[in-house]
């Protein structure tokens, strides 16, 4: 079962991976964007970790809600409200439970991903974070490892796509051939989740 502690470990690992990969994310955001995705997430995840350290929320839902609100108030740009909404709505869907299993998380994540789609108006194939998040949420029903793999494949699949949402859409045809930074960071977050689960022996927390 996954408790508040688990979600804090996930976000801490995610933050350290963002720290490590910030320059790569910013570089991906250069040819088809405005070269800030890495520094945006860096700022956001540093703030999230500081707030979690301070507030110690005691349910999975509260951890994600706090983290999401913090992203909204520190990131800015497109990814701030989108990732903020993802975590907040996923957290809200988890309710007050002190522990949740993988299935419950998969279902809540689906709600969160739907909220992202609703907010930004994008669908898979538009070359956005949804191209990693949507398959990841589905695959999470199977396993953490499958979610990781699905997100990774989803991110890679954005390369040949023509961007239809966000800043990359401005460059039109020239967006083709570049991997989407948001899909890449989404894959990173999902990979951190799987890594945390693996390290905690949680690959089998499914209720089934």
């Amino acid at each position: 079962m996954l408790d508040a502690e688990f979600f804090c470990r996930w976000l801490t690992l995610a933050a350290s991976w963002v720290e490590r990969d910030a320059d790569r994310l910013t570089a991906l955001d250069s040819p088809i964007g405005d070269a800030d995705h890495g520094s945006n997430l860096l700022r956001g995840f540093r703030a999230v970790i500081a707030t979690l350290d301070e507030q110690h929320p005691d349910t999975p839902g509260a951890v994600l809600a706090v983290a999401g609100r913090r992203l909204v108030s520190t990131v800015g740009g497109a990814s701030g409200p989108l990732y903020g909404t993802l975590l907040r709505r996923t957290g809200k869907a988890l309710g007050d439970a002190v522990e949740v299993d993988r299935d419950e998380l998969a279902e809540a994540l689906r709600t969160g991903v739907d909220a992202v789609a609703g907010l930004g108006g994008a669908t898979p194939g538009d070359k956005t974070m949804l191209d990693a998040l949507v398959p990841a949420a589905t695959a999470l029903r199977t396993s953490f490892a499958a979610a990781r793999e699905a997100a990774e494949q989803g991110a890679l699949a954005t390369t040949p796509m023509l961007a239809r949402k966000g800043r990359a859409s401005y460059v039109g045809e020239r967006s083709i051939g570049h991997q989407d930074p948001g899909a890449t960071s989404s894959a990173l977050l999902v990979a951190a989740l799987a890594e945390t689960a693996g390290a905690s022996g949680e690959e089998d927390t499914s209720g089934e």
Binding site: I32, T74, Y170, V171
Partner: protein, 330 residues
């Protein structure tokens, strides 16, 4: 790339400290990143709040003051500000007459301002919005995030600001802002790529002898790359691109805007060519503004914005304004 900075992380805060020191007539909250005219809130007057990524100076903080914005929220470089800033700004300028959010049409700006509007309304502030989307380089808006907000922002902020200063009610100020946006179109070119403090190197490669047509103000490449053109050829291309979208029957306000790295001497020379094209196309020019107003850090290049005005809008344009970046009549 060398910059006149301390470290990339503090450029926005450092800039705000410097703005505060130079402009005691503004209240600058460096911590919360909100710039407010000192006399706000003004009884019975609509508050105008704008904001967006930093790196476009003097936009927006440089346009705060009598006759223009009530407050501005600068985000990180090229990054939309966060809702907290906008809510704080709205609260600081609302006198009960309501607040107009001026939002450039970028996904980030739209989402953050939307969230802010909800939060501000929860606090009992009446909020109206205007979306600025004037950049004709972004076509097929069905398949994109829609046209970007660029040079029109200056006209929306100035004209709506003059209307607010006159004490017009929120719906009227919003209607004027929308009218301005609908009558304004822009097109920009880049001669060099931009370098952000966070990245430290140009955001894209632009070989010698080539230029980018149809660029935005965030260092993103344009729609098309061509062999370098003369200022006259660029003026033909840019003005015609705008006129394809906007066929003015009334006179226009012209903004020949530098992206930051192009010398003023070149901008004036470019203006001469822009005026030539306009006169060839039989477009009457009411007023012309030349300078670095809606910039993209150190990017070399320029944009042309045309804003069609009736007598009322022209009167609002000529109305007094006193901000760090735009000032006349007072």
């Amino acid at each position: 790339m060398k910059m006149l900075i301390n470290v990339a992380e503090t450029v926005v805060a450092d800039g705000l400290r410097g703005l505060a020191a130079a402009h005691p007539e503004l209240t600058v909250d460096v911590e919360s990143r909100v710039v407010v005219r000192r006399d706000a809130p003004l009884e019975g007057r609509v508050g105008l709040v704008s904001g967006g990524g930093s790196g476009h100076e003097p936009l927006h903080a440089g346009f705060v003051g009598p006759g223009m914005l009530s407050a501005a929220c600068p985000g990180e470089v090229f990054t939309s500000p966060v809702p907290d800033q906008m809510v704080r700004a709205a609260a600081a300028v609302d006198s009960g007459a309501g607040v107009l959010f001026i939002v450039k049409n970028y996904t980030g700006d739209v989402l953050n301002f939307d969230m802010a509007a909800e939060l501000a309304e929860d606090e009992g502030i009446q909020v109206a919005k205007v979306l600025v989307n004037d950049d004709v380089a972004v076509t097929d808006s069905l398949y994109t995030a829609g046209r970007r907000g660029t040079g029109a922002t200056l006209f929306v902020e100035k004209l709506a600001g003059a209307a607010a200063e006159e004490g017009r009610p929120l719906e009227q100020v919003q209607a004027i802002a929308r009218q301005v946006n609908e009558n304004t179109r822009s097109f920009g070119v880049a001669l060099s790529a931009v370098t952000t403090p966070a990245k430290g190197s140009p955001t894209f490669d632009l070989p010698a002898g080539e230029l980018e047509l149809g660029i935005g103000i965030h260092g993103e490449p344009g729609r098309e790359r061509r062999a370098m053109m003369t200022s006259g050829e660029i003026a033909d291309f840019a003005v015609d691109a705008v006129l394809e979208d906007l066929q003015p029957s009334n006179p226009v306000l012209v903004l020949v805007n530098g992206m930051g790295g192009t010398p003023l001497l070149e901008l004036y020379g470019f203006n001469a060519e822009v005026q030539r094209v306009l006169s060839q196309r039989r477009v009457a020019v009411a007023r012309t503004l030349v300078g670095n107003y809606v910039t993209s850090l150190d990017m070399a290049g320029a944009s042309v914005t045309l804003c069609q005005v009736d007598e009322e809008l022209l009167r609002l344009w000529d109305a007094p304004v006193s901000t760090p970046g735009l000032r006349w009549g007072m």
